[in-house]
């Protein structure tokens, strides 16, 4: 049996040819997004946000100036289970490294995923 010393799933020698790093917008801009959310800061109207989220329209917090496209996968609910709290978000690096509008968008997405009764702010 042959085992590589350090296992990799892709052989860099096969795929590497260019030392010029790519523009990652070219990769990211083709990722589909599921919803549109706009917020001037932290949103606290979860019920309202939920309905607007589901309708996939811009969430009105005054004139939308910042727009976040949020894509949340269905398995979140199975991962986090019934006892979801916002601290679930706080454990992830995202919650501490991304702006308030993004965190709010995540929360809205979580509410949309689980239902407001299962999310405690």
């Amino acid at each position: 049996m042959h085992l590589p010393d350090v296992a990799r799933r892709t052989p860099p020698t096969e795929t590497a040819s260019d030392a010029s790093c790519p523009d990652l917008f070219d990769l990211l801009d083709v990722v589909p997004t599921a919803a549109v959310f706009a917020c001037d800061g932290v949103c606290d109207d979860y019920e309202g946000a939920l309905s607007l989220f589901e309708d996939r329209i811009e969430l009105g917090c005054g004139t939308p100036r910042s727009i976040a496209f949020v894509d949340v996968e269905a398995w979140w609910a199975t991962v986090v289970g019934a006892a979801v709290t916002v601290t679930v978000l706080a454990r992830g690096a995202h919650s501490t490294t991304l702006p308030a509008a993004y965190r709010a968008a995540l929360l809205v997405a979580l509410v949309a995923q689980l239902g407001p009764e299962r999310v405690r702010a």
Binding site: D5, R9, P11, F25, S66
Partner: protein, 325 residues
């Protein structure tokens, strides 16, 4: 809600919060607030240039590895810190520089560099398009523990040593294969795990860092190594990691890895990969799969890159998984 069961594509505790988001706008004050919070920064100063002011920040991935891009039409300066993360960045347009303890470094277009780690960093950017790869510190350090014997704490990267053309080409090659899996909505959890690990390995290989201090790593006892090997094999259909085995057996990951090296001449992850390849081979035989169907099966088991899959399978069994002879 799809019920996918616990097979190679199952959700499990290993699933991390994933999201894709774009934050964009044209308001200077809001941009300052958003970026300052995003980068845990201070004293961000934004001024307009001869271009209309706008910004667009795009992120996709999870809390362990995320891929990001940032467009900023304007001039911005200030200072930031990335606690808990290692960040690789480069610009594809405009200009930018970082200043830290070891002086100022000007970013070269399309040449990746590692953000200074663990210290406040000054920056100055103008009309730029930037790409970033964020890797959670604990995730990278666990991979370093397994493959390099790293024993905790911050990895001592040498920011004065810039990666050469060959190293950058290898980084780009890994990123070209792994990043689409990291951002994809439909990638299996094993494929995503493998892609994230490959990015971490590529980061370690690309950016010069000091070897771990403290002398040789004491190997875990052979009995423990065999227990860990059994555990990894038994759970190879799940997104289990060598660090899980180390934690369950109460053995430091670096010691476990050293034990694997002496017992099997391989890393724990190589052992795990072998176990998965054997599961793939069984399934290919049972189902009589070939061609693209076998490649797809490999993807489900974490072999997200076709060439990498064929290479690994060929090395393990001496045959091409795409052919049924």
């Amino acid at each position: 809600m799809p019920d996918r069961g616990r097979d190679a594509s199952s959700p499990s505790d290993r699933e991390h919060m994933r999201a894709s988001a774009t934050i964009a706008g044209t308001d200077v004050d809001q941009a300052r607030a958003l970026y300052q919070e995003a980068y845990r920064g201070e004293d961000f100063r934004i001024t307009t240039t001869d271009r209309p002011f706008r910004y667009r920040y795009r992120v996709s991935g999870d809390d362990e590895v995320s891929v990001r891009a940032n467009l900023f039409s304007g001039a911005v300066s200030g200072s930031f810190e990335h606690p808990g993360e290692y960040v690789v960045t480069w610009i594809t347009e405009g200009e930018g520089s970082h200043s830290a303890r070891d002086g100022e470094s000007v970013l070269v277009l399309r040449k990746a560099k590692l953000h200074p780690v663990g210290e406040p960093t000054g920056f100055r950017f103008r009309d730029h398009v930037q790409s970033l790869v964020h890797v959670q510190a604990s995730f990278l350090e666990a991979v370093a523990a397994e493959v390099e014997g790293h024993r905790g704490g911050q990895i001592a990267f040498d920011h004065a040593v810039l990666p050469g053309a060959e190293a950058l080409a290898a980084w780009n090659g890994t990123l070209a294969a792994a990043a689409p899996v990291i951002v994809a909505r439909d990638a299996t959890v094993l494929a995503r795990e493998a892609a994230k690990r490959d990015v971490a390995l590529a980061l370690l290989e690309t950016f010069s860092h000091a070897p771990t201090a403290g002398g040789p790593v004491e190997p875990a006892p052979t009995a423990r190594v065999r227990e860990a090997a059994d555990l990894l094999r038994a759970r190879s259909g799940e997104p289990v990691r060598p660090s899980d085995a180390a934690a369950e057996l109460g053995v430091p990951l670096a010691s476990l890895a050293e034990g694997f090296r002496r017992t099997f001449d391989a890393t724990p992850d190589a052992w795990l990969q072998q176990a998965r390849l054997e599961r793939v081979r069984s399934a290919l035989t049972e189902q009589g799969l070939e061609g693209e169907a076998s490649v797809e099966l490999g993807r489900r088991w974490g072999f997200y890159d076709e060439l990498g899959f064929v290479d690994a399978y060929g090395a393990a069994f001496g045959t091409d998984p795409r052919r049924r002879d």
